[in-house]
């Protein structure tokens, strides 16, 4: 099988750029500082109280993986959002489209390049994350599940980045749009649920006052399922299960009031990963449409017909 030429070129170009090295140093530096500070705090407790709190090492795992996840969400849009708009700015996109390389191959190559950069960053951070194995409490299976979560989140964020990069002609617009989209996905879904919960609580309060009851069943209702799109919630669910913070039911179902337990809340992690994966695929399909001259024409004529 022939390697994607765009991917090969991107890998060669990024290996020559100082950007990736700077990102690697900064990423691992931040992770290492977080891990060492946590270890220091555990050891300090040992010195002062002569008592070893093993939960402190689990806290380190949570801290390191949370920092890693946050950095992933922060770095990935910067990598992906300039990929297509950068080609436009260099005036090379038309040259690529004039070759026998299809728009689908171009997007696939760009995606693979963005993901391989992120994978390199994640693999490089393994030594820091592996510190937790010194003390135990986390299994390889847990770590693998977390890696899957990272991979899906990276795919989703890369999808948002590529979508914005194809939509906007300039990188200076595509990058903030990608971050905006990500904030909307993470903060927006949370805010909608919080808002729905507060409305529901107000209704329940007035109803309970009327009947003199104290058991509130206020909830954000169906809006909870919007959280399936939220990679931060998936990460939280995994971490809370692995560290035992989750009590019986799916952690998310307890966030926004009373929710019936069902298939989705019981299998929140795999379902949310599947939803995020499909969203990423959809976004990349849209990115292909934005750069494909033939599909652009079809879209335009469809709009004309509708009018």
């Amino acid at each position: 099988m022939r390697a994607n030429p765009i991917y090969k070129k991107e890998v060669k170009a990024s290996s020559r750029s100082v950007r990736l090295s700077v990102i690697l140093i900064a990423f691992n530096g931040i992770l290492a500082v977080a891990a060492l500070l946590n270890m220091y705090s555990v050891l300090y407790r040992v010195w002062t109280t002569a008592e070893i709190q093993y939960s402190g090492f689990l806290e380190m795992y949570v801290l390191v993986t949370a920092v890693e996840f946050a950095l992933l969400l922060f770095i990935m849009p910067a990598i992906a959002a300039g990929s297509i708009s950068g080609e436009r700015e260099r005036q090379t996109l038309d040259l690529l489209l004039a070759t026998q390389t299809t728009p689908r191959q171009i997007i696939r190559g760009k995606l693979m390049a963005s993901l391989s950069n992120m994978l390199l960053i994640l693999v490089a951070s393994f030594p820091v994350v592996a510190l937790v194995f010194v003390y135990g409490g986390i299994t390889w299976r847990d770590l693998l599940l977390l890696l899957c979560c990272f991979a899906v989140a990276a795919l989703l964020v890369a999808g948002i980045g590529l979508f914005c990069s194809s939509l906007f002609k300039r990188t200076i617009l595509a990058v903030p749009a990608s971050y905006g989209g990500l904030i909307l996905l993470i903060g927006g879904t949370y805010a909608i649920n919080q808002f729905a919960l507060s409305i529901s609580t107000m209704r329940w309060n007035s109803y309970m006052n009327q009947i003199g009851s104290v058991a509130s069943q206020a909830s954000s209702g169906g809006f909870l399922y919007l959280m399936l799109f939220n990679p931060a919630v998936t990460f939280y669910s995994i971490i809370s299960r692995e560290t035992g913070a989750d009590v019986g039911r799916g952690a998310v179902s307890q966030w926004f009031g009373y929710h019936e337990t069902g298939f989705l809340t019981e299998h929140w992690v795999p379902v949310s990963m599947a939803v995020q994966f499909l969203t990423a695929v959809f976004l990349m399909g849209a990115a292909v449409r934005f750069i494909d001259p033939a599909l652009k024409r079809i879209r335009k004529s469809n709009n004309k017909n509708r009018r």
Partner: protein, 315 residues
């Protein structure tokens, strides 16, 4: 090789192409000219599959651009009016990348790359970063890139703009060489003198329509016909003036000493007949020639008119 029929393309309310018809014969070196905004780049982008037309057909080597875009792209090499280079790649890597975009790799690609870099005079710069090349060298690299898949048609959009005279000369030589190898070359340019030197065929586009098309020879003849005849006689011009006034094809006459400028509407045979009449009348004619026209004159004439659809040869 290339057939365009009824091509229309609008951008909002602006009609870039309004029913363009164009035909480029196999092996031709076709000059594609027109004023700014006439629709040249839009036409080129449609041919290359970078824009889809609103209506009309484009056939390249018998393949329709809508039905078989992949096949058409495989037959076309495109050099736009910008460089489009990756600064962080070396010349050889840049070429290898585009070879891979056409499915070429390994020894076959490397052999082809070396041959093209040699043909374009870039063989000593294979390890140079593209960023460090001069404008002329970048243009040569773009030409080599467009030829990587050995296309049947090469489309060049303003290829010599910004080049120094030496580079322009060298570039024209390369183009001629490619044409000799049997490639069909379409050049869009504002430098009409350059085109008249190299092109075998010409198409003039204005307001999205082809206003003049045909072989360069026919077009230049057409230009010449509109130019005056310069006649020089040995002695007083009165006798010659009498002959000229009686000739039905003579429109205007102006005299300066023994030089007579005649506005003459006739082809080469009629010119010969007029010369014969003057000689038969015993006039000592020592100079008889059409003033040579050029593409600039024709271009100015055509793009100034209101309605003009003149196709010298069709089909």
């Amino acid at each position: 090789m290339l057939k365009i029929k009824g091509l229309k393309k609008s951008f909002g309310r602006y009609h870039a192409l309004s029913g363009l018809d164009m035909e480029v014969p196999d092996g031709a070196l076709f000059g594609f000219v027109g004023p700014n905004g006439a629709g040249k780049t839009t036409t080129i982008k449609i041919i290359c599959g970078l824009l889809m037309p609103d209506s009309g057909t484009v056939e390249v080597g018998g393949w329709d651009i809508r039905q078989d875009p992949g096949k058409v792209k495989g037959m076309i090499g495109y050099v736009p009016d910008y460089f489009g280079v990756y600064d962080n790649l070396k010349v050889s890597e840049y070429m290898e990348f585009f070879a891979a975009c056409y499915g070429l790799d390994g020894l076959k690609a490397r052999t082809r790359i070396m041959a093209l870099l040699e043909q374009t005079g870039m063989e000593e710069r294979t390890d140079f970063y593209v960023d460090g090349l001069s404008r002329g060298m970048k243009q040569r690299l773009c030409l080599a890139r467009a030829l990587i898949h050995d296309p049947d048609i090469l489309i060049l959009d303003e290829p010599t703009s910004g080049m120094d005279p030496r580079s322009r000369f060298d570039f024209k030589e390369i183009i001629r060489e490619l044409c000799d190898q049997g490639k069909t070359v379409i050049i869009s340019s504002h430098l009409l003198s350059d085109l008249s030197e190299v092109c075998t065929d010409l198409g003039i586009i204005d307001q999205g329509r082809m206003v003049l098309g045909g072989s360069m020879q026919e077009i230049l003849e057409r230009v010449d016909i509109s130019r005056p005849l310069a006649i020089t006689v040995n002695g007083p011009p009165e006798k010659a003036m009498a002959v000229l006034r009686s000739h039905p094809n003579v429109q205007t006459i102006s005299v300066k000493d023994t030089d007579i400028m005649v506005g003459f509407t006739g082809d080469r045979q009629e010119e010969a007949r007029l010369l014969q009449q003057l000689v038969d009348a015993g006039i000592p004619v020592c100079g008889f020639a059409r003033l040579r026209g050029n593409l600039e004159t024709l271009f100015m004439q055509i793009t100034d008119k209101d309605e003009k659809v003149v196709l010298i040869h069709e089909g």
